[in-house]
């Protein structure tokens, strides 16, 4: 933690609670979280523990019932968000879908990125220039997810939020997309927060994994992971297996 202490803070959550008024009580209760810039943080936890709610809270899509949340993006940009499904507009082509976030908002907020810039971004997520005029229905599931990832980055955010984006894709593609996300994180100096069920994914990708248990327990483990390379060797390394076991224990112990 001392290494990251010098980094500016991106999110600071203090005693955050979210209550939808359900019989089961609040979804999140008295949660504290410090997110320094540049970290790749993964949040794992059982279904219904409030992972997605936490992510929506960070995105500003959900307001806390109690507590204080500080967001410090130096340029005030909205975070990029990748959903469980690609969430593309079926009537728009690949390029038009990519451009969509730039067209929205009040006129002073809108951007007009050059087509070259957009094509370059498509290249970065592994999409082909020849497909830019295709509509989502003509794209494979993997291509749709890549496009969704590119769209999250089109406004050059400093923060990337991922809500189980690889849950619906097959194993091989999931591995490729994981590597792509980490590569984009490193290359663009992003602060990334990923929500997932997949412990192997968490251990492979993250600088830090948080285990979230249903309220009132909250975060029950906070594991930092240090490695130079996150390549195929790292994926199958003993360390990743050990971290995965640690996470499994943290998940089932409470």
């Amino acid at each position: 933690m001392s290494a990251t202490a010098a980094q500016p803070t991106v999110f600071e959550l203090q005693n955050i609670s979210v209550d939808f008024g359900g019989a089961a009580g609040p979804v999140l209760r008295d949660l504290n979280l410090h997110v320094p810039a540049g970290q790749f943080i993964t949040i794992v936890g059982p279904s219904g523990c409030g992972k997605s709610t936490l992510l929506r809270l960070l995105a500003g899509l959900q307001q806390p019932s109690a507590g204080h949340i500080a967001r410090q993006n130096s340029d005030g940009s909205a975070p990029g968000f990748v959903f469980q499904q690609p969430a593309l507009l079926p009537w728009r082509t690949m390029l038009q879908n990519l451009r969509l976030p730039c067209e929205l908002g009040r006129s002073q907020m809108r951007q007009n990125p050059a087509e070259d810039q957009l094509l370059d971004l498509l290249g970065q997520v592994g999409l082909n220039r020849s497909d830019v005029d295709k509509r989502p229905a003509e794209l494979s599931g993997g291509m749709q997810m890549r496009l969704s990832l590119a769209r999250a980055l089109v406004r050059q955010p400093q923060v990337l939020l991922l809500d189980e984006p690889f849950a619906a894709v097959d194993d091989l593609l999931r591995m490729k997309l994981q590597e792509l996300v980490r590569e984009l994180h490193d290359r663009r100096g992003l602060t990334t927060i990923l929500v997932t069920h997949n412990l192997q994914e968490a251990a492979f990708l993250s600088d830090r994994v948080l285990v979230l248990q249903p309220a009132p327990a909250g975060f029950t483990a906070d594991i930092s992971i240090h490695t130079a390379d996150r390549d195929q060797n790292w994926r199958v390394s003993d360390q990743v297996t050990v971290i995965q076991q640690k996470l499994t224990k943290a998940l089932i112990s409470s």
Partner: protein
């Protein structure tokens, strides 16, 4: 290779779409013909298919004129109900309160029996083309209101989040997300409404009576004159008109969805 065989499959599918119902039609006509022949049913009770065809040829001019008249009245009514229906749905989609207050009255459009409202409208608006169109409009309004409202309200939650995150204004969300997303629903509403509009026009003409020259009036005259083969020919023409209008609107909507949206009515590319 696979592409070619899949396009051949599609061609076969298209041919079958037309051929299969035609075979059924021929089969039914044959059974009808044989039943009339073998059981020696009097043509006063049930004319055979050939007699009906002959009758249709005999009154072809009045049939054609009546069909055009009914089609124009029905499509005029449908056009107005498309405009009024989408505007109403637009209003419904804006607030739950408006929806709660007005939806029961939209349901009334569907539940009030057409044979009850048609005479009322004719009394109010007179025995003419306008009344016929209004009945067609009222009958076709409900499916357009309901499917368009459903379409405008049924947007993907993730897409709504995306628009919110991007700071979209209410207007942008409406025009770039809700309206285009609702188009397939609007189109399927119009398809259903097209059939209702034809029925509405014919019922309207039926009540307007002999001063009208549409299919409904013709049906009324033929049933009064007891020339059963001509009555059958008129009824079959009316059915055909509904089928043709429905098919044309389906084809047109399929084309629109494919052309601009890259999807079809079944939601598949």
């Amino acid at each position: 290779m696979t592409q070619r065989s899949s396009s051949t499959d599609a061609d076969i599918g298209r041919v079958m779409n037309i051929a299969a119902p035609l075979v059924v039609l021929l089969l039914l006509a044959t059974i009808w013909h044989l039943a009339v022949e073998w059981c020696q049913i009097s043509p006063v009770l049930l004319p055979g298919p050939l007699a009906v065809l002959q009758a249709a040829w005999k009154i072809r001019e009045s049939l054609l004129a009546a069909t055009v008249r009914t089609a124009v009245a029905a499509l005029g009514g449908l056009l107005v109900s498309c405009l009024a229906g989408t505007l109403t749905a637009f209003l419904f989609s804006q607030s739950r309160l408006i929806r709660r207050a007005l939806y029961p009255y939209a349901v009334l459009l569907q539940t009030v029996p057409v044979i009850a409202i048609a005479p009322i409208i004719i009394v109010t608006l007179g025995r003419g083309f306008l009344s016929v169109s209004v009945v067609a409009c009222i009958l076709s309004l409900f499916p357009i209101i309901t499917s368009t409202t459903t379409g405008l309200l049924q947007t993907d939650a993730a897409l709504e989040d995306l628009f919110r995150l991007s700071g979209a204004t209410r207007w942008q969300t409406l025009l770039r997300l809700r309206v285009p997303g609702a188009l397939p629903y609007v189109i399927s509403g119009v398809r259903i409404a097209s059939g209702s509009a034809i029925v509405g026009a014919i019922v309207g003409e039926f009540f307007v009576g002999s001063s009208e020259s549409g299919l409904g009036a013709l049906i009324q005259r033929k049933s009064a004159s007891l020339v059963l083969s001509e009555l059958y020919a008129t009824v079959i023409t009316a059915t055909l008109l509904g089928t043709v209008v429905f098919s044309l609107i389906s084809l047109g909507s399929e084309f629109v969805l494919r052309r601009w949206f890259g999807m079809s009515l079944s939601g598949r590319p």
